[in-house]
Symmetry: C2
Subunit: 256 residues, 2 copies
DNA sequence: TCGCGTCGTTTCATTATTTTCAACGGCATT
DNA sequence: AATGCCGTTGAAAATAATGAAACGACGCGA
């Protein structure tokens, strides 16, 4: 494992642990030597990616992370472009809408607007959405890079509910449906009682870079509602893709 | 220089350069060997911090950066806490308001709400605010960690306008004023025709972690206005500090 | 008050990684 | 066809990272 990889996994540990962590805990979680962990941490501190409380010696993610994220957002305004569309979707339907982006670590929710209703779906920011178990994941897979798709569809699927897809063939058929329709319908695959519709966000090459979705309590929506939501998210996804990648986005349909 | 330091400077180069950069350009900008640069980049790609366009081979900052930033924001909601206050300030005064956070690389603007008026001050997101030449910087210095302050006040000040403070003694007196009043007034130190008022954001130890400021065209504001703005930003800074660090923030005043 | 365990930190020889230089093939321009 | 630049790879040399051990500091319980 490269030094950079080790440093990044420390950042991951800091991000997924508590707000602040002690050296020993970080070393344990990352499975690195105490001394190694500390040296990596000071290197990260020197670069602003990690901060340390002078009093308690506890470590936390630093402001340099936010700085890098701002610079990225300046060049590639995924959030700035997608957020208004998500808000609009949520306002139009009264349900929770969320936007996710694909990174090496999976599909991650980057913006969420919760439904105003009392019975609403909650999606945490930064949550990793399993590709096989969520509508967003399936919409993404339907238009993902072949290598990413192949890697994600070979099996070993974690089971979240009795409805989670566990069979590669069944997953393939769902993905195929999504590819045909341009949106996916997910039913309680990740959490019981939650149905959702999702569509991919396509780059100029027609490959998915993220997804946008609506999630609703199963008791509130019919299959007809979900299909209607599907059309909405598909349009929303197209809009974001076009704004981001400049209008030239053409879905890679099989022959069509 | 440590390996992670090199990797981070590549991220910096990618962030401050164009939207996408070629290997040779990155290597030149960072002053690393071409081969070294590439191997660091692939390590970063493997961890999602950098992405590469399959077709053009161009590199850009990756979604992993945004993921880390979200995880940080979840633990330490600087933006989520500060943004509403900034919006309120801008609405109350009709001038541009902005929030900045201190990182190893300096004071960086993380949220900006522009004035609605035609003649308005523009502050780019992610901009580095020089500590000696901006109201935000001086407000920050007045309550900064002693070591940070000492490092920033020794001189070698870049000159931006004829009004930029270039003398350490003069800077010290401005900082002292800010410390006494709880806010700073900046007049055309960074950009001609721009006056501003800023206040620090203090952590539980009374040390500055960022700043909040109002900026207005010089032609529109009197000294009285600026002092009024100063009170407003001071209150706003206190509010953010208390929300973030939990009410216990006590400014480190000299004896007082 | 006195151990006791844990924590963060530092040292140093060993180990492993990274760096550098050179060379190669691809690609576009000349 | 030739030139120049690019991205990529190989292999020896240089450098940085590693892990065990030890130290002082701190908090805890006896």
């Amino acid at each position: 494992m490269s030094t950079v990889g080790k440093a990044v996994s420390l950042l991951d540990v800091l991000g997924s642990g508590g707000a602040e962590m002690a050296l020993a805990d970080i070393a344990r979680a990352a499975d690195f030597d105490k001394a190694t962990t500390r040296r990596l941490l000071v290197a990260l501190i020197d670069n602003g990616l990690v901060e340390q409380d002078g009093g308690t010696r506890l470590y936390r993610l630093g402001a340099g992370i936010a700085r890098l994220a701002l610079m990225r957002e300046a060049h590639f305004p995924f959030l700035r472009t997608g957020a208004p569309v998500v808000e609009r979707l949520a306002a139009a339907t009264g349900e929770t809408a969320h936007l996710s982006e694909h990174s090496r670590r999976g599909l991650v929710s980057v913006h969420v607007v919760e439904s105003a209703r009392a019975n609403r779906i909650f999606v945490p920011l930064g949550e990793q959405l399993p590709l096989h178990a969520t509508a967003s994941g399936i919409a993404f897979l339907a238009f993902a890079e072949p290598r990413v798709r192949a890697a994600a569809m070979t099996g070993g699927f974690e089971i979240y509910t009795p409805h989670t897809i566990v069979d590669p063939a069944s997953l393939a058929s769902h993905v195929e449906d999504a590819r045909r329709r341009g949106y996916s319908i997910g039913s309680q695959g990740f959490e019981e009682g939650v149905d959702s519709a999702a569509a991919p966000i396509l780059n100029a090459a027609g490959l998915a870079t993220g997804a946008i979705a609506l999630a609703a309590p199963r008791s509130r929506v019919t299959r007809g509602d979900l299909d209607r939501y599907g059309m909405l998210v598909a349009a929303a996804g197209r809009e974001i893709g076009e704004r981001l990648y400049g209008g030239g986005a053409t879905p890679q349909l099989k022959q069509a």
